[in-house]
Every structure is written in structure tokens, then in C-alpha cells.
Symmetry: C2
Amino acid sequence: MAYRPKLTSASRPLTTEVEALNERGEALPTPIAGEHPLTLYVDKREIVTLMTLGQAPEALAIGYLRNQRLVRSIEEIAEVQVDWETDSVAIVTRKAIKGLTEKMKKRTVTTGCGQGTVFGDLMEEIESLRLRDDVRLTEDTLYGLLEAVRHRETIYKSAGAVHGCALADRAEILYFVEDVGRHNAVDAIAGQMWLDRVDGSDKIFYTTGRLTSEMVIKAAQMRIPFLVSRSGLTQMGYEIASKVGITMIGRAVNKHYLLFTGRHRFVRQIMPTMLA
Amino acid sequence: MAYRPKLTSASRPLTTEVEALNERGEALPTPIAGEHPLTLYVDKREIVTLMTLGQAPEALAIGYLRNQRLVRSIEEIAEVQVDWETDSVAIVTRKAIKGLTEKMKKRTVTTGCGQGTVFGDLMEEIESLRLRDDVRLTEDTLYGLLEAVRHRETIYKSAGAVHGCALADRAEILYFVEDVGRHNAVDAIAGQMWLDRVDGSDKIFYTTGRLTSEMVIKAAQMRIPFLVSRSGLTQMGYEIASKVGITMIGRAVNKHYLLFTGRHRFVRQIMPTMLA
């Protein structure tokens, strides 16, 4: 059996209810999304405090370390212990991380908020990435995935204020994570993929959030060739997507979409009329 | 005349156009929002790289330093020079910032992405904040402001993928800033308020984004008693808003809204039928 770190399983209640007055003066019980600080400690050293919905805190912690390049494989992690009494997660490595101080310093100056991205080094890494070119996404599969997303029960539907991310194998959703920070949702999926030894190279990454530089970088780092969003994109998201040749689709809702980059992996529906 | 630092005025073109294929196979010219790295240097020391739309980079840099508590007043800043050839902004202080290294270190461990918040110390500061209690927001004024926001020409309308923030004096919008990161939009407004010596204590802060802990903290730090959002809120946003007693209104669109906290400052419309 594949190696697995020792983990807690400590998700939080995801919504809570408060009272609000609407424009008719009615007091309405209103569900709101959870938001909790979670401070990461690696081998007792404080790394960062994330504000999270708390749906998948162990996977989030692992994925954060993965996407920040603080650990290189799941085998480096011995334990991940979330404790909501102290709002903390203690990660124990099997062998102390080399150069943690140096890595932390680099992170400092490059973490922003547009923010939340680790830059510089990452761009170099991105340049050398190659995504698989022998995989295809058909329009039918895309529509099937959008349909699956639409039918999903979500925190967003009940309380709003969260972003959702999914990893899909064709139209089948493997993971669906929501969080108050969209970077957290991506990181949690990255962590879960490591835990389950899921290879991204033929998968689809779906997000309700915008396709910014960071989103494209993270998808590419996970070797995922297909990136689909309900929302729009930014200039740098577009430039990086063009550079790594990822197949990027925006404004994907119902039977509408905009295909921006990596067109060679996308197969449009052949219309029945064209066959006649 | 009030003191003003020496400033560049270097906004970027805010949208650019790329080609996308839609579901009918048509190639559409599609406007997308700019996103540019902007690295802040304070007295030649690298502080952070922000990903920004670039609408108000000087105000953003000043507001970032203000909201991170790295400078305490606009008088501490001598120059703010944005240079897009190097994607950088050089800030020169009039007197070196005391304990910058210490402050930077604190920032490291507490900056997350949910992220983008500075925590810990801030919460203590928040506890001691008092917002004005002798100011009122009427429903008419709220509707007037929402109307003003709706008629505004925005990047969001043309390209999406940005958040907008506004500072309003009753229904009149004083500033309206959009950015790829909503934290940047708030920071840019904080910077502009300092530059123009605008007091927040009777103003309304409007945002298209969600009311998370950080949003509430920043509004309260600027002493703004009214916080209005088109979107929803999170549990911690609610808890902090309750604690500081800010008047917080969510889901504010057209003639609908939900009043969550600080009800004593809000005056509902008296319906004509009630006067009859």
C-alpha cells in the first residue's frame, strides 16, 4: 500500500446562521460561510496563518506546502495534526526541511495579494514545464462536467462568499473543494492529489474563480493540461497560459464557453447538420 | 497647503484584447483585465510583489504601507516612483522606518491567502477601535449609492475578473478603484484617502467583494462606520463586525439588502402607507 502520513480528519461545520434585516424589515435567518484562522507549524516552526472555511484542513496544509515548494513529495511528511482548539495544524516531517529559513525568506518578499502568489522562481519553473499533448477534451465532456458542477450541492448555493475548485476525470468530479480563499481551494486539491497519488496529466481543473496568473501557474505545476473557469481571466493569466500551452477555457456556464489558449487539445462538437 | 509626497502618475492601460473561440466556433475579440507584478521597495529594500491591474499604483503602494502598519502617516513618505519598465515602485521615506525588519518578520508568518491578511496584532488594535456613533445611513442614501455604482463605467463590465471598491460621502462616490485583487483595491483607496486627507469617520465603504475578516478589519482601521457589499459575508467577517459595531450590509443590489450588524446607525425608509 502506498505511503500515507498520519492525519487527523478535522473539518469544521461549514456554515452557521445569523440574523439579518432585509429591505422589508423582516428578520431573516441567513446562512454564512465559516472562516477560521489556521496557523501552520512545520516541525514546530510557524509558517503562515491561512483564513479557511475548514472543509479539508489536512489536505490544505499539505497542498500549501506542496504549492509553495516547501516539500517535494508526500513521503517527506510524517504527520498532519489539525487542532481547532488552538486553530493550528502541526506538520511533522520525516527529515527536517533543508533551507527552510531561506525558502521562507524568499516567500516573504514575493507573497502578495492579488496576492497569494509565489513569484520569480516559479516563473522559471513554469518555463521548463511540458504538459501532455496527447490528451483531448471534447465539447461534450466539457458540457457534461459543467452539468455535474451545476447539480452539486455547495456552500456557495446556501451561503455564498466562497470559491469552488474541482478536479475532474473527464466529466466525473473527483474532488470538489470550496474555501473563502480560492488559493486555499486549489491548495487543498493539490494536497488531496498527493495523498491519493492522483496524476494530473490527463485531468481537468475547474474553478468558479478568475483565471489569474497564480491559478494558471498552480494548474501547470500540477501538470494539468485543462483549466476551466466560470469566470473571466487576466492578462497575465492569458500570457502564462499561452506560454505553457495549457488549454484554458473561460466563461464556461451551461452551453457557453470561450476557448482562449491550447486550442489543439480541444475538440469541438461536430454539429449533426454538418454530417447530413 | 497640506504636505504631499512627490509622486509619479503611472496608471497602466486597464484592458487589452485577445481572441477567443466561442461555442459556435466564432473567433471573438475579448477584452481582458490587465494584471501586472509590481514590486515595492521601501528605501531600496524589497517588501512585496503585488499583482495589480495598475489603475492607481502610487495610491496602492501608499495604502499597502498604511494598511500593513509599516508607516503611520503620509508625512513619513517623501517619494513614490512607479516604473513599469522594471515593474517596480520605489518608496523613499523621510526618516528610515524603525524596526522594519521586525515588522517584516511579523508580516511573514501572518500573511496568508484567504490570504492577504495581517493578523494577530491587528486583532488587538481592532478591539480598541471606536467608530462614530453619531452618524446615520438612511435607506434612501443606500439606494442612491447603489444606483451610482450601477451606472459607473467599469472594467468589470467590459472585462470581468476584477473587484471594485468605492469610498462614498453619502450617495456620492469619491473614489472608485478596481483591481485583480480586492485587497489591492481597498489599499489603493486607503492610500488615496491619506493623500487627499479624507477622514473616513462619516463615509461609506462599498465593495463588490465578499465581507471577509480582512475587509471588515481594513474598513474599521480607516474608521469607516458603514460597510456595504454586493456579495455575502463570512463568519469571521460577521464576528469582527459585531465586535467593532460597524454597520455592515451585504447582498446590496438594486432595492435589496441584508443589514447584519450595527443596526443603530441605519434608518429604514418610512413607507408612505405608514404616514397615511
